[in-house]
Symmetry: C2
Subunit: 268 residues, 2 copies
Amino acid sequence: MVSFAARVADLVAERGGLCVGIDPHPGVMDAWGVGQDLAGVEAVAMGMVEALADTVAVFKPQSAFFERWGSAGIAVLERCVGALQDSGALVILDVKRGDIGSTMDAYAQAYLGEGPGSVDAITASPYLGFDALAPAFDMAEAHGRGVFVLARTSNPEGGDLQLGRTLSGAVVAQSIVDQAHARNQASGVDAIGLVVGATHASLGVDLSEFTGPVLVPGVGAQGGTVAGVRAAFSSSPALVLPSVSREVLYAGPDPGRLRACVARLLEG
Amino acid sequence: MVSFAARVADLVAERGGLCVGIDPHPGVMDAWGVGQDLAGVEAVAMGMVEALADTVAVFKPQSAFFERWGSAGIAVLERCVGALQDSGALVILDVKRGDIGSTMDAYAQAYLGEGPGSVDAITASPYLGFDALAPAFDMAEAHGRGVFVLARTSNPEGGDLQLGRTLSGAVVAQSIVDQAHARNQASGVDAIGLVVGATHASLGVDLSEFTGPVLVPGVGAQGGTVAGVRAAFSSSPALVLPSVSREVLYAGPDPGRLRACVARLLEG
């Protein structure tokens, strides 16, 4: 079986190293001239698929914008994910799940198993402890899929907790990095990735040993560039995946403008 | 408008202070003699509704066990929530969401607005910072709904982070308690609750000033009793809501046994 990290690396070599968000939020729906309704969500999601699914390596649909519309919104998400995968792209579903025991098992089966909501990777949130996410790690490692654990995020409210200290004395975000690294070393497949924001002048975490994938939101509208992200992570052996959402989404709905925006970001 | 805390208090006075989980997980489905499929999920969820919706004050469906089955599973959840509310019960959806900005807005609209997934309260996870959850707090306060923020959880993996220190020097879990209290003081409506586990000998958090609702999982199969929970929180003015899942679920599917189990827990 091909590991998740190898699947990402192969596709990035072929299509370029960029992750594009699929976020049908109200502002984007207005910009696309579609209604603030389920049909509008579907127009944005499938418009992104039609314009970009065969040229972008990785997509990151944001679950919240589909959950907003209930079960019918999730059905749109399922169709979007299926179409992305049919075009050979990888899908990281941004769900930031985190729970314990049989509940975490259920999330793992929901998104990393063989059910209708299955994707290539998810994001996960470690407030309940990194090890509480183990059911998702197990499932990802067994199925060639991935889990991106929040380590250091780009929002201003995140630092007080993430740069605090665990009971055992480590910086919180660094403890996530180190536990993810240890898990990857033990499994040998780099199924565990990290989410690290691009907008900090200093990252506050040491990734000099981390070899897994790192999802880096903050490119484009949030101020970062692909080149800037690569420079910020230049001392790390990680597989860095800059992620852009608004800058691309607001280039739509015209497919040519969407593709041109992606091409420009990949050059810069 | 009646605040969430007042709605909970009124219903607890009428029906007793217990929250019952609706967790259609594989073990429960086996015990109920239903299939490991969507029909099995619906049988468990609606069986709980039929037996208990008119006698239990608060229900806590666990989203993961519905997400496990994709959009069709969420449709079952929506029917379950609707039936619970039609019987006068309150619904805390255990989703542990936590994000930032427009994404957190979308979660707030998904669960605390007027959409098809709307419930009375949700659980939320603060790894991205307590203040990042503000869109959910705003929506809850405006609609007489609630948000239960994870503070100190009962799983063994939780302590290293939750009993660590924030950058500003507070114990992490206590900082969540204090921020929730400050928010409730400012709004005057106690819309912000906490999740605090019942299985710790010492809670490790000071709730002596907290007047909002506190959801306390861990009753029943996890070792706690309703009386034990009340004793553990006796020094707090909080509206304590002991929560039980497995012990009740495994009493099913017989409605009489389900009701007897709830009655016994409320006595003990």
